[in-house]
Amino acid sequence: MTPAAVSLTIIAAIVAAGVTVGFLAGARRKMDLEEWTVGGRGFGVLLVFLLMAGEVYTTFSFLGASGWAYSHGGPTLYVLAYLTLAYVVSFFVLPQLWELGRRHGMQTVADFFGLRYGNRYLAGFACLVGIVCLVPYVQLQITGVGIILSVASFGGIGRAPAMAICVVLLVAFVFASGVRAVAWISVVKDGLMILAALCIGIAIPYIHFGGVGPMFAALARARPEHLTMPGATIDQGHAWYVSTVLLTSVGFYMWPHAFGSTFTAKSADTLRRNAVVMPLYTLTLAFIFFAGFASVLLVPGLKDGDLAMLTVVRNTFPAWFLGVIGGAGALTAMVPASIFILTAATLFAKNLIRPVFAPGMSDDQVAKLARVMVIVLGLIALCLGIFSSSTLVSLLLTGYAGVAQFFPGVVLGIYWRRVTLTGVFGGMIAGVSTAAFLMLSHRDPLFGLSAGFLALCLNFAVAGGLSLLTAEPASVAEPDVAAPGGVVGAGGVIPPRASDMPRI
């Protein structure tokens, strides 16, 4: 067998094993809308944790972070800072959000905006922004699989066909098993990923340089400027770092899938405890950085930095090991991608089309529409993946510039009684349109600052200013004053449960 055949066989076996675990988890259950999207709400603490962890570790951290360490250098360190600080933000925002969600039966980011501000158009707009931002995140994962397969096949499989294969598998997988499969497959994926990160991060510097210390010493001698900011870039200095870390750390839990998983927690206290422990999860990423920096010296001159780490793995280890790493990487891309695609499709059908355009739809019709959307979104992400040449990290930053625009509405909605619908809607429109304009016209970074951060500042300013100018809100779901007798929102009228009646 040729090395390419060996590595591809092992990748296929690992993906097949993962998918089988998923199918088995999904089998023997009646697939209605509820079961398909939220696992019938029967997830224990362990499954919820697995689901959340499955969302955190994506191809972005695997190939993207090492790729940027290779091509950009110092600025990549923002990844370690933002993932850690995101949990600090979550400590102060999620418990309050959860409490509000419990009282008013919220399930998604659209429910939050619909119920808190009492306007289904705001909810619809939030939905649309969420879906649009998830597309580059899915594209990122598909591109990752494309890279893995083309490197592992020694260039035998082109990147475009590899991405197409990935999308077909992804859609089939999401169709057949829904969210329960995704949680179980995370077990396989996370174990492999952490093992792979440790192996690569320690073994590569050790084999080529005699250790991590000597590797960095060699790099500090040869390319000291690569290790600090702005590294190999001209416009990603300290101002960029601070603005990007702020943007992405507040944006982290604004991703629709992460926002939704908040509501699955057992209590507000669980979320706080989670925030205390989760930063340690970021430590494993440091090993990926070791490999990324090592590849600067080992495979200089690659045009596409995202290829760097896998190329080094291919040059260092036997083909079967490349297969194991590739398989872990492929699952690491496909698990989150299916969560994202499922979230986006459900948001589209359940929170955008039904409440805003077709109130008469039955649950079955919504489920059908969601399935159609899975295919549509998969194809859109595939087309974007084939025709765009963005690096993995810049794809993620594009999404962040968008989802972070939810943050003012969320944090003001939780903590500021004076905030009004006009303020939040105006702020979000200003923020999203500014971010979209700056990103699409390639003006990121602007004046040395992250474009998404500038949009976020504008969003806050508009939201605050307009709120002060408009009348005191007749609040629908204000933190301390719950509306009695059911509230009208994105999901239609939700009657309050007896246990959730306001305690005032």
């Binding site: 110092g74 360190l77 370690l80 800072a81 850690t84 600080l85 949990y87 600090v88 400590f91 102060f92 418990p95 309050q96 409490e99 509000l100 250790g211 991590v212 210390g213 000597p214 960095f216 010493a217 500090a220 000291p224 290790l227 600090t228 900011m229 300290h238 770092y241 601070v242 870390v245 702020l246 750390s249 507000a268 206290d269 706080r272 405890r273 925030a275 205390v276 422990v277 930063p279 340690l280 970021t282 430590l283 440091a286 950085f289 903590y415 933190p479 305690r503």
Partner: protein, 72 residues
Amino acid sequence: MRKPSRSALFLGLIPFVGMCFSVPLWDRVRPMLFGLPFNLFWLICWIVLTTACLWAAYRVESAIDEQRGSTP
């Protein structure tokens, strides 16, 4: 649900100062510690320190919750 206390918010601000706002002070290669460039070493330390800060904030918040009785 009540707002977080000032001391908890202060504890939450510490990691932001350590990992984010103070970047010009620590973004350099030397001195290399444990074989790592100084900025990488600094961030790895702060990942652990962040957990410590949040743990302290958790204790503060839980103590206040207990004082006020179990109702939030």
